[in-house]
Symmetry: C2
């Protein structure tokens, strides 16, 4: 056995997590549910763990990364859509007036999302996302968005899988947007990604069958939609849920309901230097769920305190 | 090594399949896509196989088994619903007049399905299905419906999984109806079952959160719905698809589209003695897909010729 293998085998799991009660709560839970004979033992088949994406597995500031994609798509598509100049929300987005976009509310943002995400086949859309995700850069870090994933959460995904868990993403973000890169960056295959979706339609073209994306919302995987999406896709209750905002509250309530062993964790963004510090933000608001976490004893990650490193690109430091 | 282990290891796969071109087409396909260096090699992650359920993995005559469940539920629920006597389709179903039920068309049958499948929590519904599936008996074979599964298809599922395939059910039947027993009888976990569904709603009761089932169709996983359901749940194209009726045609077209290796198979029910012989039947009609199978070179199982045994309970014979 080589020395490096020995070192790896003796390394504790979760090296980017500082020692303390947060890390201990995770390790204790995993130990309990995987110890045969323990009263809290859970069969491998039932070890389902669900993860929110934006703000839980990767950053979500200064705006949801998919919203940047929407803006870039609008700009790319605008020359073919002269009629957009008469649409207040689109016009505001195109001139970068985010206040006016926000004034359109959720409905306005959803309209921007559906028009930029529809009108092509599923294969064409995947290609558009793939091109964007490799070329776009985060405004603060000047790196691809896929670099802005949380190293401690990657270690947590690996740790859970090594202990027989099946890991799923359950996000308000677009299911087909995430599936393009989820396997590569998180090791989570497309069939374990749950998200919001638009309607698709099967069509037989002379060249063969396609699925065409229509500008119509099919499912909103947020808030009360998360347990519905989990039930639709997984068909059983998760025993562990990881989120960071009020949009994850119902998912955490659902995972911890009932008598069996369960675990819930919220990521609290407290590090303005290394990442962002926020909770009352319009993006990733964490208020109601934080109160409930305290009353129910859910684990809350204080990024500043609990994470030794935040991003993989810091590892070499 | 004990003798029995040696025998097992040397047994060819698919023992309930007679030797011939049908079996050979399956074994050749699996061999090609799993042979490293072969031009038809497919990475394990992409070895997705989808199976219709009714008529493909278990019998579907003299009526879809879930329809028998609907009729039994109607009878059990009728005393609490005096208003049903004014509903022509329900009244016909309750007095066993299947011709009058059929006259109500798909809409009538869907109405029967939604009213008997809604009005309870998801946990309560699972319990109802579990009780029914253990107590109900098939009218011809006088056995639990779960005995009416096809031994050759069980062997095929096992054979594919042993070769790195992930196996999914993609059925017009109810997703929550199947998930109760799919793992036990097919080894297919709930998260790999795709089917038709009704709307569910998250509610916080004093006793905790529940998902309530509403009498409203959410998704019809049949015909053109099958590729849509596959895309929604799996997010990538299967490379192998198995069906038995015209309702599976689009699924087989979808799986075999594009340039990569793929395989499509139809089960043709030709054995009136051991099971049933039909193709122009209202249940499991196989006409258009059979023509397309011939023109495209898809594999067609002739049950009478190709299957040595049909049901597991024959194995000891």
């Amino acid at each position: 056995m080589s020395e490096s293998v020995e070192v790896a085998q003796h390394q504790s799991p979760l090296p980017s997590w500082n020692e303390g009660s947060t890390k201990r709560s995770i390790v204790n839970f995993v130990h309990e549910v995987t110890t045969p004979g323990s009263s809290r033992f859970v069969k491998p088949d039932e070890r389902i763990a669900v993860f929110d994406n934006d703000g839980t597995l990767w950053s979500e500031q200064p705006a949801y990364f998919q919203f940047e994609f929407v803006l870039d798509r609008l700009k790319a598509m605008a020359p073919q859509h002269p009629e957009w100049k008469d649409n207040a929300v689109i016009a505001a987005a195109l001139r970068g007036d985010m206040k006016a976009v926000a004034a359109g509310g959720v409905r306005g943002v959803l309209e921007l999302a559906t028009i930029t995400h529809a009108g092509m086949t599923t294969d064409e859309f995947s290609k558009i996302v793939e091109d964007w995700i490799t070329s776009a850069r985060h405004p603060k870090f000047n790196r691809p968005y896929t670099d802005l994933i949380f190293q401690p959460m990657l270690e947590l995904l690996t740790y859970l899988r090594a202990n027989g868990f099946k890991t799923f993403i359950v996000s308000g973000g677009g299911i087909e947007f995430m599936r393009v890169w989820s396997e590569k960056i998180y090791g989570i295959p497309p069939e374990q990604v749950i998200g919001s979706s638009i309607v698709t339609k099967f069509e037989m073209l002379p060249s063969g069958p396609v699925l065409t994306r229509l500008p119509e919302l099919d499912f909103m995987d947020d808030n009360v939609g998360k347990p519905v999406g989990i039930h639709r896709h997984i068909g059983r209750k998760p025993i562990a849920a990881f989120g960071n905002s009020d949009g994850d509250l119902q998912m955490l309530q659902w995972a911890t309901a009932g008598k069996g062993s369960s675990f819930a964790l919220l990521v609290h963004h407290t590090d303005a230097v290394r990442e962002y510090a926020y909770e009352a933000s319009a993006i990733g608001k964490l208020e109601v769920a934080l109160v409930e976490a305290k009353s129910k004893g859910w684990t809350v990650v204080d990024i500043k305190q609990d994470w030794k490193r935040i991003f993989p690109f810091e590892v070499g430091k």
